[in-house]
Symmetry: C2
Subunit: 355 residues, 2 copies
């Protein structure tokens, strides 16, 4: 079974099967109106020769590029890499993206783009021109960057905005941040906690706002206060340390904290340990993200599992199905789940008198 050196083209197949190029093309692309008998004959030739259409040529001839481009924040991704924090977003995006793309004969590419830079347009524009992707997936904080969404809309490239439900062009896809925060808060309230604090993410990420909203709503429903129980971090470990300290300094009666990232939650865990607070005996902790690191801490953390892979997968499907000018109305939501581990427990009885 010697293999050809030269690439097998559609022409070789046509010749082998004794039909025209066009017919082969129809068979390859599952086009209509080909007699079954002929279709089989052509398919046999394709299999025999091991023909696979060239992506570049397909793109050239004005059809699709079969490429979905995923845009991630360069600054954050690089920082995560540099400090060997692990990039759960990229990881999960790839999981959902690659698998779903390959099911449809598409490919996924990852591009790092600076949101804050003033040449976003040039940078992203160059990538779009070079790749001419059939769809683009925007991750936070790009999802609500007007410069980016406008550029994409103008070029008529279908795109999904992950972690955004704001109006505007593109398909908005949320991961139920409001609901997830509500879920976590309610769970803590059920466990008897009365003073439930939150360490939120930066306001540049609109998901930060929703998480705060979900937390407040749950507190209100349980008749609990939220005043003074909110601190803001930047998702990083150090900011988590600062926020946890401030929170516990100001509110010694806090018995539960929800942190908007795993890193910040682990930082809070460390702060608690320093102060002789036992988790979950004295303090319950819930984090957002559920990256691999929270499974091996002492204790392992209860966490909100963000369905990134599932969301990206849905996004890919939407993009592949959608015509450039499809209706971009419906917000698509994939709900997050709560993974209970050992960092949550009943509110300490001793504190009920203290509070």
């Amino acid at each position: 079974m010697a293999r050809v050196r030269k690439t097998v083209t559609i022409r070789d197949v046509a010749e082998d099967a004794g039909v025209s190029l066009q017919t082969v093309s129809r068979v390859v692309n599952g086009g209509p109106n080909v007699r079954p008998q002929l279709r089989d004959k052509v398919q046999a030739a394709i299999d025999r020769l091991g023909y696979v259409p060239s992506l570049a040529a397909q793109r050239m001839s004005g059809s699709r590029s079969y490429i979905i481009l995923a845009i991630n924040d360069r600054e954050r991704t690089l920082a995560d890499w540099r400090e060997r924090r692990g990039t759960d977003w990229v990881d999960q995006m790839l999981l959902g993206g690659i698998l779903t793309c390959s099911q449809h004969g598409y490919r996924m590419m990852v591009e790092l783009v600076d949101t804050h830079s003033d040449h976003v347009e040039r940078e992203l524009g160059a990538a779009l021109s070079a790749l001419q992707p059939d769809g683009v997936i925007l991750t936070p904080p790009h999802s609500e960057n007007r410069l980016i969404t406008d550029l994409l809309a103008e070029r008529r490239i279908p795109f999904a905005r992950i972690g955004s439900n704001a109006p505007g062009p593109g398909i908005p896809m949320t991961m139920g941040d409001e609901g997830a925060a509500h879920l976590a808060t309610t769970r803590l309230a059920e466990l008897g906690h009365r003073r439930i604090a939150m360490i939120a993410g930066p306001s540049a990420y609109s998901l930060s706002g929703w998480r705060i909203e979900g937390w407040r709503r749950a507190l209100a429903e349980a008749g609990l206060p939220h005043e003074g129980l909110l601190e803001v971090g930047d998702f990083g470990y150090e900011s988590g340390t600062r926020a946890a300290r401030t929170l516990l300094d100001r509110n010694p009666d806090v018995t539960a904290i929800i942190a908007s990232s795993d890193q910040m939650a682990l930082a809070a865990l460390e702060v608690a340990r320093d102060r002789g607070l036992s988790v979950p005996h004295d303090l319950s902790l819930i984090s957002f993200d559920n990256t691999p690191i929270v499974r091996f801490s002492q204790p392992p953390l209860t966490a909100i599992d963000q369905p990134i892979a599932e969301t990206v997968s849905r996004a890919v499907e939407q993009l592949i199905a959608r015509a450039p000018d499809g209706d971009d109305d419906a917000v698509i939501e994939v709900a997050a789940g709560l993974v209970e581990r050992s960092s949550t427990g009943p509110a300490p009885a001793t504190l009920s008198g203290r509070a």
Copy 2:
């Protein structure tokens, strides 16, 4: 600054600058023999119009595809994803790959391929035909899969074999596994440990063998025995648990273990905890990989840091520079480092009498 709807082509630039297509092409590709004055004029037109050459068209016209394909093991990657273990390989590959590729105007794509499947050739062949990459990066265990390396060699596609120094086609690149294991073992010997065990990886990965060799060499140099101190796992947590138990059951005098993955090391940590052994007081632990999870365990693990990103980066550079029939002789090695945390310490004094 209204943007064109239609794609800017080389023709538009040529027209704008009043030159031929060929001249624009030369300017874009930094070709020789263009008068500086003309070059500037064309460049100005390119900037003004925001022209970026289409990857697809470039590929079509017989030049390079500007794509480097990274091949990862599907089975392992999917398992890591499914169990939310984090895929450090993919992560680090992307770090080194994307950055270095973009510096040279290239793109990186990740493809998952089953090593064990009998249709590897068809699967990989299809990807190669569709993408026509300028280079391929093979990660373990593909790096030494004859089916794959032969296919690549036959198609004359330059490729790098990461984690392999076996002879054969392709550029072999090792991450100094022998040296790293030697380093870790020697360090433990210096700390006074006399019974240093190893939990190795599966033999399908040739790096497993080198690590064992490095460990044996260091032991021999220190005049220490290795008999009965070797267990084999599959890199996963459960296999680590089994291996650690067997090891400690058979050799109660073992005071140090080197595990060939972070997961297996964390499993050993758990086994030690179950048996009332304090780490590092009673047992020292060193793991391979240094993924993010080992920083938050109790105690954080001392680990060998595998320079995956750096290695892939070097590989990309080699591939871009190399002609299809370059000399594939020299093995390129990027040395690993030891990151000391709190899972290693002096050998317990009490045991010196016991051993």
